[in-house]
């Protein structure tokens, strides 16, 4: 049998709250330390303890970081899902089984390793609670032996994780070793999966997008953070609190930041708008239900022209839905968030590095454009661990936008808050208390004001202001980050994606190329669209927009941006709540390419 080296996926099936987190990250990091590109995805339930949870590790010598649809190695620790778990592994796959769990008969062509976890853990501790937690380390040892992970890498990973808790450390070490020893003595390696040292992770970091975003926010100089807990967004603010507490206090221990846990999301966005209006760099982070609650205030922010940064870590479903599953379905809702004619710039990070960068960039844009700016991440990007180059220290200063200094104010004959003096639709503003010159005082309200911020119900003035706001949004096109474009001279088919879908795209392109379908690819970084999308779409006979929602939301936006090309733009949608995988994308594109019927449907205007 041919070995499969550094290119397979492991899935660990446990119960939520059973403490498998440490075991899984130790496994992940040990592989990473071997120099093998790796990604880890936590598929957890909406619950604190007791429901099934899975952790997926993918080792990929080619550096593919997306989810792999197929599971090669499964570790079965949860009786409730054991049957399903065992069934999820195809021919040639590996099943590592806690042998106290009864499972249905397994076909011959799978490799089953039964591990007597119960008897292995007994000698290690008498504390029943600890036993339950530490049992997980046993499969780490077993897998280490089976897959060929050097023992010292596991130990090192364990040290990094638990270094500060010597008692726990010792226990865990013992459990790993018990698994290892037992496997060495009792198991015969029969399956093909192996790990070998490479050099593809040296100098890289492993980090989740929410932590990366938090770091970006801190380096971007955030000073007011408001939030209301919600999965999967809470960890962004919790990481940020951690960073700020450590790195943003003065010698006297006083904070150069305010973090306020609001009573709900309406209050959270209100506080951000108040703070942004008064001149602080202010942000909040939320998910779908919170976003819905912020609708009224976000429209107000658009009209009153107040800088604000709002992260949306997308999840699926409505409010009682599946908060722990990933999605890209808030796109259109965010783009026009609020009643009336409203349009918001959106940043679309596709990597942890971009979470970091857009964490800073969002403030520059919000203050430059004087408007709420959204950063659309998702659960997969935000809460899972991704390999990345380390983040660079910002080269540029911040851009605080058009805030008048008192000196500049003094030179003006009069200050008019909403006058478009520069022709870019962006007026100048003053800050209460910061601008001492009373000339700068003005009254803020949504609309119904003239250039000097005076109340008016004049139809012409209203329309003029609306047109200026539209002009401002045109200015945004020039300020938002440009897409990444990978052209392929031989390609007739172009692909478009955004956000975390990127990683499946990279892999799918390789699969398609290998299957004889070279493709061009454009990775969107923001809305509104920059000029690049038009150029890209015109180049290809057919363009597929791939995204993780049911309604093909980005596809629709691309069609609207390019009406003359709309019929050539097709939609590939993935909406199961699981992160999209390359194989599904590849198959769907091949299907649509091969199916003239599908073509006809698209021509007739059916999105799906």
């Amino acid at each position: 049998m041919k070995s499969v080296v550094n290119d397979f996926s492991i899935q660990v099936a446990t119960v939520n709250g059973s403490g498998s987190q440490t075991a899984n990250s130790v496994l992940l990091r040990a592989i990473f330390q071997m120099g093998v590109p790796v990604s880890g995805k936590n598929l957890f339930p909406s619950n604190i303890a007791g429901l099934p949870t899975w952790f997926t590790i993918r080792a990929s010598r080619d550096g593919y970081l997306a989810r792999r649809r197929e599971t090669d190695v499964i570790v079965v620790m949860n009786p409730e899902t054991a049957a399903e778990d065992v069934g999820s592994v195809g021919a040639g796959g590996v099943i590592v089984l806690n042998d106290s769990i009864p499972v249905p008969p397994v076909p011959e062509d799978r490799f089953v390793y039964r591990v007597p976890m119960k008897s292995l853990i007994e000698p290690i501790t008498t504390d029943v609670r600890l036993r339950r937690l530490v049992t997980n380390m046993i499969y780490v040892g077993v897998l280490g032996e089976l897959l060929g992970i050097p023992e010292q890498e596991v130990e090192k990973a364990l040290d990094a994780q638990l270094g500060k808790k010597p008692k726990a450390l010792a226990l865990n070490h013992a459990a790993v070793r018990a698994g290892w020893e037992w496997a060495r003595q009792n198991l015969t390696k029969r399956d093909p999966f192996r790990l070998e040292r490479m050099d593809k992770t040296a100098g890289k970091i492993l980090i989740d997008g929410n932590t990366a975003g938090a770091l970006g926010a801190m380096m971007g100089g955030v000073s007011v953070v408001t939030w209301y807990p919600i999965t999967p967004s809470s960890s962004l603010v919790e990481a940020l609190i951690g960073f700020l507490e450590r790195h943003r206090k003065d010698e006297a221990g006083r904070a150069t930041f305010a973090v306020i846990q609001a009573e709900d999301e309406i209050a959270a966005i209100g506080m951000v708008l108040g703070a942004g209006w008064a001149g602080a760099r202010a942000m909040t982070s939320t998910s779908g239900p919170g976003l819905s609650l912020m609708a009224e205030f976000c429209g107000y922010g658009y009209y009153a022209e107040i800088p604000a940064v709002i992260w949306d870590i997308q999840r699926i479903g409505p409010s009682t839905g599946l908060p722990t599953r990933t999605s890209q379905a808030d796109l259109q809702f965010v783009y026009g968030l609020s009643h009336g004619d409203t349009k918001h710039p959106i940043l679309l990070p596709g990597s942890v590095r971009e979470c970091y960068e857009f964490g800073m960039k969002a403030f520059d844009l919000a203050e430059r454009l004087q408007t709420p700016v959204f950063v659309l991440s998702d659960l997969d990007l935000g809460m899972n661990n991704w390999m990345s180059d380390p983040f660079p220290y910002p080269e540029q200063k911040w851009d605080r936008g058009k805030v008048l200094s008192d000196e500049a104010l003094a030179k003006l004959a009069k200050f008019e808050r909403y006058r478009d003096v520069d022709g870019d639709g962006i007026p100048w503003r003053t800050l209460p208390g910061i601008n001492k010159d009373v000339k700068g005082a003005y009254f803020t309200r949504g609309s119904g004001h003239d250039e000097a911020a005076r109340y008016t119900e004049s139809p012409e003035t209203y329309a003029r202001n609306m047109e200026r706001l539209a002009r401002k949004f045109e200015t945004a096109r020039k300020l938002v980050p440009a897409p990444d474009v990978w052209e392929d001279e031989r390609a007739e088919v172009g692909l478009v994606a955004f956000g975390s879908t990127h990683w499946a795209m990279v892999e799918a392109r390789d699969q398609l190329r290998a299957g004889g379908l070279p493709t061009g690819y454009l990775l969107l970084k923001a809305l509104p669209f920059t000029e690049h999308i038009a150029r890209f779409v015109k180049k290809y006979r057919r363009v597929y927009v791939v995204e993780q929602n049911r309604d093909g939301q980005m596809c629709e936006l691309v069609r609207l941006e390019l009406p003359a090309d709309a019929a050539r733009v097709r939609s590939v949608r993935h909406f199961t709540g699981m992160p999209v995988d390359a194989r599904s994308v590849t198959e769907e594109i091949l299907k649509q390419e091969g199916a003239p019927a599908a073509e006809r449907r698209v021509a007739e205007g059916v999105t799906r």
Binding site: L206, V259, A280
Partner: protein, 319 residues
């Protein structure tokens, strides 16, 4: 907390901004203090705006103006949580028992038995914003009447000397929709039922005035900035520094259908918002980049943690 007091003395405070929600009452800020910034927020959400503004700039003295609909109906949650955080803002409720701007429907402060202009009777218990504020730990709670400037003026001054949220519920008859017989917020009704707790004088801290009064006749309250409030006894003794007493007095007045006006409760020494946040003296809005962005060494250190697996990562959450 003498340290806090001293600090306060040395800090410059900027007049305004004036903030409001939506309603006839919330239009008030447009009518005065043209020299300061103003902010007409969305309905019922001025408290969160105020919280954000104050977090951004601790030097701003905030005036928040709201209506009874804005505060007790749609805005009740935000009002309560503002009070709970003790955000320094002089919070004025122009309380007319109706939604003026939308043409006179009952608000949540309409009294039981009060009638609309159409004759419709309210059967629901009114929300007493003062009782709620005291219940939630507010350190300055007053009720007054828009027709009684003599009482209102010193109350307003004292409210600005307070270091946390100061709530003033001002019964303000709506002459268009609620000044008829049957309304319990009409001028006539309020004048008849007004039961002032005391006569009030405010002595600013910079005026080193010695005020003579008969012992026992006047209660003196010192505010954190050194100014003083003189509460002169009118009839029955009232101790404005007792939370329990205040709650009970309101309850009793409710039963007797009396309208207690004056300073209901004052407790000047309370953890202010900025202390809970442990803020630096510089307003956050004025932080220079050097203070707002940690140096490269910090980023490098963090990066190395995420190289070696020592960095923390997102915990799996629930809902």
């Amino acid at each position: 907390m003498p340290r806090l007091r001293a600090q306060r003395h040395h800090r410059r405070h900027h007049p305004g901004p004036k903030l409001s929600g939506i309603g006839c009452s919330s239009k008030t800020p447009a009518y005065f203090l043209g020299q300061s910034h103003g902010f007409n927020a969305v309905h019922g959400r001025m408290p969160s705006i105020a919280t954000g503004v104050r977090a951004a700039n601790r030097e701003l003295l905030l005036i928040g103006i709201s209506g009874d609909g804005d505060t007790a109906s749609i805005g009740l949650g935000q009002f309560c949580h503002l009070v709970r955080r003790n955000v320094p803002v002089v919070y004025i409720i122009e309380n007319n028992g109706v939604y003026g701007l939308t043409k006179g429907q009952f608000s949540a402060t309409a009294d039981v038995g009060s009638t609309m202009k159409t004759g419709k009777v309210n059967e629901l218990m009114p929300i007493d914003c003062c009782a709620i504020a005291i219940q939630l730990g507010c350190g300055f709670v007053a009720r007054s009447f828009s027709g009684d400037q003599k009482q209102l003026r010193p109350l307003l001054k004292a409210a600005f000397a307070h270091r946390g949220t100061a709530v003033i519920d001002v019964i303000s008859p709506c002459v268009t929709f609620a000044d008829h017989e049957g309304s319990t917020k009409s001028y006539a009704y309020v004048k008849e039922h007004d039961a002032p707790l005391h006569a009030i004088d405010f002595v600013p801290y910079f005026e080193d005035i010695h005020v003579d009064y008969e012992p026992g006749s006047t209660h003196e309250v010192e505010m954190p900035d050194g100014s003083r409030l003189l509460l002169k006894k009118l009839g029955v003794e009232y101790d404005a520094t007792s939370r329990e007493g205040a709650i009970q007095a309101l309850e009793q007045a409710r039963r007797e259908q009396k309208l207690l006006t004056g300073l209901l409760y004052v407790e000047p020494e309370q953890m202010p918002f900025e202390e809970d946040l442990k803020l630096v003296e510089t307003p956050l809005a004025a932080l220079p980049l050097e203070q707002a962005r940690p140096p490269k060494s910090v980023l490098d250190e963090i990066m190395s943690q995420y190289m070696t697996g020592k960095g923390l990562s997102a915990p799996a959450g629930g809902g």
